[in-house]
Symmetry: C2
């Protein structure tokens, strides 16, 4: 069998499940045209139809337990109350208290992304019946300039390709690089010195095999700039950036509302205007001008976030990044075994082509990464799908009333989902 035909054969095998009565297939409505789409729940909290973990509730639990003596039973209860049996933990467990302001923000951000990465990889592995695990490539940058850890699960049964990277860099920004950044940050800069910087970030891209399960991406990072003349190396400027966005090949309104509803809640916990502002930013950022369509159905996106208290923003960034598993895990759990046809797989592959176009032509992170002096190309391009497809003027997507046309219409005109 051809190695690169595993998609095709896997799909065939899975499509044949449509006639096999398994518990999972019967517990969720199918996507096929002859079966009804899951009706949106009547409650205003659209995602309540999912049994999912609420990061806010869990944070409260943890705080409570951290402040009282623990006994074994209490420890048991740290596991999210609402988690479905058999689901792994969705709660990162950093080895330092991330609210301890006596620990430098840099270090706390590193602890956060490390525990986030481990929790996510373990949770996603639990959705992989092949038993495949993430493979980790840990690397040190030259001359203590930082380190990275790229974890990739490739060619699995559930995931065609899933990657979760952390990256920590200490280096200097060239004069032209500083000039390209927001000037107001650098009113103290002499205009000729290279500026030391530090960045710690975690990024993730997951491309499931099933065309009914959406691709997801996130990236959260903390940036600091130092004054080269300051012997203490205190940050002179700092900001957080990040976001999480969803890219389905087929639209499931319930999934879209669950995802956006959860991120709206996360935003609302921190500031009233955040969701509206960062949802719009996301729609604008993930736009493909030459296709006149969005890459996906959005989510939240922000950059240069440095207004006010860094502790408050750090809490917000943690809450958003910790919302990834409750936002995405239940969707994949629901869609991964859904039967699909060869035409649906073809459409997914064409949509993957658009994903590649956005990432290689427009994504600032990719461009910044590839333009580095010694780019770690494998880590930067980990976001690309295992397989993709380009057809010249395909008819699919143009037929009125089709599900392919429906998602395209939404990509051409973003919808408010929460």
């Amino acid at each position: 069998m051809l190695r690169n035909s595993s998609t095709a054969h896997g799909a065939l095998r899975r499509a044949s499940l449509s006639s096999a009565p398994t518990a999972r297939l019967h517990s969720f409505p199918s996507s096929s045209a002859s079966l009804p789409i899951i009706p949106p729940p009547r409650s205003s909290r659209a995602h309540s139809s999912f049994t999912s973990w609420n990061p806010h509730t869990t944070h409260s639990h943890r705080s409570r337990f951290l402040m009282t003596p623990l006994d074994p039973l209490d420890c048991e209860e740290q596991r999210p109350m609402s988690a479905q049996r058999g689901r792994p933990s969705f709660v990162p467990t950093p080895s330092v208290d991330l609210d301890d302001t006596s620990i430098p923000m840099r270090l706390r951000m590193i602890h956060h992304i490390k525990s986030l990465q481990s929790t996510i990889c373990e949770a996603l592995e639990s959705l992989e019946p092949s038993g495949q695990k993430f493979k980790s490539s840990y690397y040190l940058r030259d001359a203590s300039k930082g380190f990275g850890d790229s974890r990739v699960l490739q060619d699995g049964e559930t995931f065609e390709k899933a990657g979760c990277n952390i990256s920590v860099i200490k280096s200097t920004l060239s004069v032209p690089a500083v000039r390209q950044m927001r000037a107001e940050r650098f009113d103290w800069w002499d205009g000729v010195s290279e500026l030391p910087y530090f960045v710690a970030g975690c990024s993730l891209v997951v491309h499931p095999r099933n065309p009914h399960a959406p691709t997801i991406h996130f990236n959260y990072r903390y940036f600091e700039i130092q004054d080269p003349k300051d012997p203490n190396g205190e940050p002179k400027a700092w900001w957080f950036g990040g976001g999480t966005d969803l890219t389905p090949s087929y639209l499931y309104e319930d999934d879209a509302r669950h995802f956006h509803g959860l991120y709206k809640e996360a935003c609302d916990r921190h500031a009233a205007g955040y969701y509206a502002r960062f949802k719009k930013w996301c729609d604008e950022y993930f736009y493909i001008p030459h296709r006149q369509e969005s890459r996906g159905i959005g989510g939240i996106f922000f950059d240069d976030l440095s207004e006010g208290d860094p502790e408050a923003i750090f809490k917000f960034v943690r809450d958003c990044s910790n919302s990834y598993l409750p936002a995405y895990y239940p969707i994949v759990e629901r869609r991964k075994d859904q039967p699909f046809t060869e035409e649906e797989k073809r459409w997914q592959q064409l949509r993957r082509g658009r994903y590649v176009e956005f990432n290689l032509v427009y994504d600032r992170g990719t461009k910044f990464g590839l333009a580095m002096k010694e780019p770690r190309t494998e880590s930067i391009l980990m976001s690309l799908p295992l397989t993709s497809r380009w057809e010249y003027e395909p008819e699919v997507g143009t037929i009125e009333g089709s599900r392919e046309k429906k998602i395209l219409d939404i990509l051409k005109k973003p919808v408010e989902w929460a």
Copy 2:
């Protein structure tokens, strides 16, 4: 069967031919490791092992016949003397005399690329046992701003995707666009007017299905700039650009020498230094910095060619573009039915990923096209392969002594083939 698995299934079907005694399979050595690679011929004219048509010879024939009365037998002889039985014509037949200097260059270039496109599409179709033909999308640009004709053959048995476009544009260059161009051309420019321009070009990309048959690309174009104050619209600046380059997944030295040898001959017919100059330019242009490798094994590439006599350059451009079929056709003819393995197909798909990276991240034509106000995206991105693949840190290509490592080594250090 999954539609997007046609590659895989086609490959399996073709791989199984290795045990089927067909005339074609026995007339060429196989690529598999257990069979010898075709030894390079001992003659200094390396491509002499191919029975191919020589455009130079044929030009002479045509001139002679055009100047003397024709009888039916003479007409017969217009067919290239060295063509193999069953091969289609490699000779474009424009409906005007391209050497007639009383016809404006613009018009002659249009005639040239139209006849070139037709000849090429017809010839490539003859290599397609599926019987599939190129589909033509002819389009007019708004307000007589030109026209285009995109011809694509997709998902065939020999060709995974083959596209040959002609494009004719009359428009104006914005002030920033003029400023980005070579200043010495515009010493008469007032610095504030938009400049009318004309461009006519033909571009081609062919991605065969068989991993032993190389991808090929060419692009030839003629550019004119007018002075907006000149009521006669005479060109104030003009240049030709173009090139042809080859991208194999597996190296066949004989193919590489045939291809480069033929382009060296074409160059040598016009100027002594052309081949060395344009081969180097090609190696430099088709370089992927973030992979530290070339896209392919080169060929020729030039831009801004406007030294001396436009008639001489037009002859050179015609000769180069007419050399495409003799350079490429025999290679595909030889490789298209060669047995291949699933691992070889996978390697080809990974190489296709690199092709996508170059075209979307670096290619100036793609970037220019996508940045246009109303880009014809389907035509611009026709160059992308039907399918491609990205793996994280694949082992293939790293193993000493393997054929995959061999081609990668050559892509990291260009070779002189002619």
